[in-house]
């Protein structure tokens, strides 16, 4: 095997790769998914109470609400617009602060409040916003707190859904660039007959496959790293994250080569990936549902690369804690190499 030829073939892959639709797909999908899932699941499953305020004076109440944590405050200028937004479920509740309200509260006049809630707002959010408002009115009135509160936090804080979706996005980054790209590259060469053309040159079959695998490794590593970075989960040891991502990219690309070799044409490639997709995808679901029996995830091959990324990158654990998973991943890689060699020989004979 000539490393110079592998390098030249790799450069050819880099030059030709962007012409493959999957190249673009592999780059765009993880980034798009990051934005989509972070945006969607940050609000769908963990909706914070949303309060709208129209202030016709210069009320301290509005200022107090801006300092409250855990609520989404919207300041509007028009009461009708506020009511419309509350009715359309754009806000959970609306509060109109009439001019002079603060003074009336301070003098104990007990003014009537312009306060309304959306019919689709959650009952828990209605309680939260109403009680918070009452607390602020008490503060404005100057009532001294009649109780001393001691807050004790118990148990371990669970991870937010947006965080538990990181393995899903990284999975797509690895599969699209690591599996799809080398796989579709081989199939395309077979369909267009360029593989045969290449083989009449001094380039050997192993060198061609290695170059295609290298493109998968490079692109899968880059998209996975960018995805982790965009999701703000790069962990405290960046170099260790790079190591686990590299191992993951190598295993993905080996699977990609295998898929490319066994697929006769694009349709077959698509069918193989769709068929095997569930097996590849399965371990990711266990991160989204941590209550499920986690041992089941270990049955699936990509668990052994997703778990090290999860532990080192998302959970911030050192590399030493995932040595077993990494060893299994590398073992799968080594075990698949002779399979690839045998199947690629058969492919050329066919």
């Amino acid at each position: 095997m000539s490393l110079i030829r592998v390098w030249k073939l790799f450069l050819k892959e880099i030059a030709m790769g962007p012409r493959n639709p999957f190249f673009l797909y592999a780059v765009i999908v993880p980034i798009g998914l990051t934005f989509l899932l972070q945006m969607a699941f940050g609000t769908i499953f963990e909706p914070v109470p949303r309060l709208g305020i129209v202030d016709y004076g210069v009320s301290e109440i509005k200022e107090s609400f801006t300092q409250e944590e855990g609520i989404e405050l919207h300041v509007l200028n028009d009461a009708e617009e506020l009511k419309k937004q509350v009715e359309n479920d754009d806000l959970d509740a609306g509060l109109i602060l009439q001019s002079g309200l603060d003074e009336k509260i301070k003098t104990g006049e007990k003014p009537q409040l312009d306060y309304f809630m959306g019919g689709e707002s959650l009952a828990s959010n209605r309680i939260i916003l109403t009680v918070m408002a009452l607390d602020i009115f008490r503060e404005i009135k100057g009532d001294d707190s009649p109780v001393a509160l001691d807050v004790v936090s118990l148990g371990e804080e669970g991870l937010p859904v947006s965080m538990r979706l990181v393995p899903l996005i990284v999975f797509y980054a690895l599969v699209l660039a690591g599996v799809f790209l080398p796989g579709s590259g081989i199939v395309e060469e077979k369909e267009k007959g360029t593989l045969q053309a290449l083989l009449v040159t001094p380039a050997r079959k192993e060198e061609i496959l290695l170059a295609k695998g290298m493109l998968g490794v490079v692109l899968a590593s880059l998209t996975a790293i960018i995805t982790l970075f965009l999701n703000n989960v790069f962990g405290p040891r960046p170099w260790e994250v790079v190591v686990v991502v590299l191992v993951a990219a190598v295993l993905s690309s080996i699977l990609g080569l295998l898929v490319g070799i066994i697929s006769k044409n694009s349709t077959a490639l698509f069918a193989v990936i769709k068929g095997a997709g569930l097996i590849l995808f399965a371990p990711v679901v266990f991160y989204i549902f941590p209550d499920w029996p986690q041992w089941i995830a270990r049955i699936f091959p990509l668990y052994w690369i997703i778990e090290p990324i999860w532990e080192v990158s998302v959970m911030g654990n050192p590399l030493a804690e995932v040595w077993f998973e990494l060893t299994v991943a590398l073992f799968i890689v080594i075990a698949l190499i002779p399979v690839i060699v045998i199947l690629s020989n058969r492919m050329l004979k066919a």
Binding site: P21, G119, S124
Partner: protein
């Protein structure tokens, strides 16, 4: 000798040929079947309820605190005529009817703490009795509690035994708030304010403002206790997904006919371009509609009130996606090219269905997407049970988009076929 063939016979022959070609496309048959199974499965595992209740534990029980307060106030010679009206039963009844909060009374603070720490599992039986067990050890007891409801406690309030009497006397007391670490900030802040408000009211401090009556301040249909679940919100998305798969299949069928020269061959027969276009329209729409209806049946979207609206909406949706398939297919690309074209055209069409998952008004640019009125009609008929009159403008909007896209699809495909 002149042998005329009727248009319907030509159309029938093309449809027969297309159906055969479609049934031979194993990839799309496979994707359609897998898609239907997968989408139905997703629907049924998605939560069908919305958890909007804060589960709050308190200790000691209301009755214990009130009894203690009565004894202490009598001992101190304090007259509280209002207090005599308080009864633990009345307070408990009031709390039970409170929307958004469930209060569970513990006699033992340690038990409440262990439940919050996750060391004990909490069960509430039908008569309201609380039972907590160690899930690792009390297997027998767990079996006995199989009819009881398992509860996740979010927060716990540990009041001192003399809390009520001290609050009435205006003395400052100390209350411990135990929180599950996963409880968000706003709930913690609200709970602190809640405890203070109880103490304020017991101490005779009236609310500093007059809140309007609850019935008067709810804008829109009050859905407290009957919120729209994620499962219900998923229905339009799943219906569009299945139409999307059919777009891929139809575009692939048209593409392969162009690439393989089948269309050119057909043109030397009595078939006119109009027959070809009509056949594609009928086949694409019927396939998409039948699968869309099947999935809506499997996810129980049809009701006596909405079936006609849903059928018309799905018909419009099927025609819309068939029009898109005509545009994609007319490009006559190979499998990969056609796949990329299909993704490029269909992904934007899915945005309105995703937007429904997020509460609130859909952004104005989303409302410009052709599939938006279809999604609105699906949402209206499956979630809000609206009638024809409520959504006539959406129908009109949908018809206009479908007509425009169908016209574009027809023109593009016709020109492609004529230039072959």
């Amino acid at each position: 000798m002149k042998n005329t063939i009727s248009s319907s016979a030509i159309l029938g022959a093309i449809l027969k040929k297309d159906l055969l070609a479609y049934s031979r496309n194993k990839l799309y048959i496979f994707l359609t079947v897998i898609g239907i199974i997968f989408f139905v499965l997703i629907f049924w595992v998605t939560p069908d309820t919305v958890d909007e209740t804060i589960v709050l534990g308190i200790t000691p029980s209301i009755e214990t605190m009130l009894e203690n307060a009565r004894e202490e106030l009598i001992e101190d010679g304090i007259q509280q005529p209002q207090f005599e009206l308080f009864s633990a039963n009345d307070i408990e009844k009031d709390l039970a009817t409170e929307e958004g909060m469930q209060v569970l009374e513990f006699e033992d603070a340690e038990q409440m703490k262990k439940v919050l720490e996750g060391k004990l599992k909490l069960y509430v039986s039908e008569d309201g009795t609380l039972e907590s067990i160690d899930p690792q050890e009390d297997h027998e007891k767990k079996e006995q509690l199989k009819d009881a409801e398992e509860k996740d406690l979010h927060m716990g309030l540990a009041f001192p035994l003399n809390f009520v009497s001290e609050a009435i006397k205006g003395e400052k007391t100390e209350v411990t708030i135990y929180l599950d670490a996963a409880v968000p900030n706003e709930m913690e802040t609200a709970m602190q304010a809640y405890v203070q408000e109880i103490a304020f009211l017991l101490g005779g401090h009236e609310s500093p403002v007059e809140f309007p009556e609850e019935e008067a301040i709810i804008l829109g249909h009050d859905r407290a206790g009957q919120q729209i679940s994620m499962q219900e919100r998923m229905r339009p998305l799943l219906a569009l997904f299945i139409l999307l798969i059919e777009t891929f299949a139809m575009a692939s069928l048209i593409s392969s006919e162009i690439l393989q020269g089948t269309v050119t061959a057909l043109r030397v027969t009595p078939m006119k371009v109009g027959h070809f276009l009509a056949a594609k329209t009928i086949l694409g729409t019927c396939l998409a509609l039948s699968q869309g209806v099947l999935i809506l049946l499997l996810i129980r979207a049809f009701t006596v009130e909405n079936w006609h609206i849903l059928l018309i909406t799905m018909l419009l949706g099927s025609l819309l996606f068939t029009s898109v398939a005509m545009i994609i297919g007319a490009a006559g690309k190979d499998f990969m090219g056609q796949l990329m074209y299909a993704i490029l055209f269909t992904v934007p069409l899915m945005i309105p269905a995703f937007a429904v998952l997020v509460p609130g008004t859909v952004a104005s640019w989303v409302q410009m997407i052709p599939s938006y009125p279809i999604v609105e009609l699906l949402v209206g008929s499956t979630i809000y049970e609206v009638g024809w009159l409520d959504y006539w403008n959406e129908f009109l909007y949908a018809i206009l988009w479908v007509a425009a896209l169908y016209l574009i699809g027809l023109v593009i495909l016709k020109r492609k076929v004529e230039t072959l």
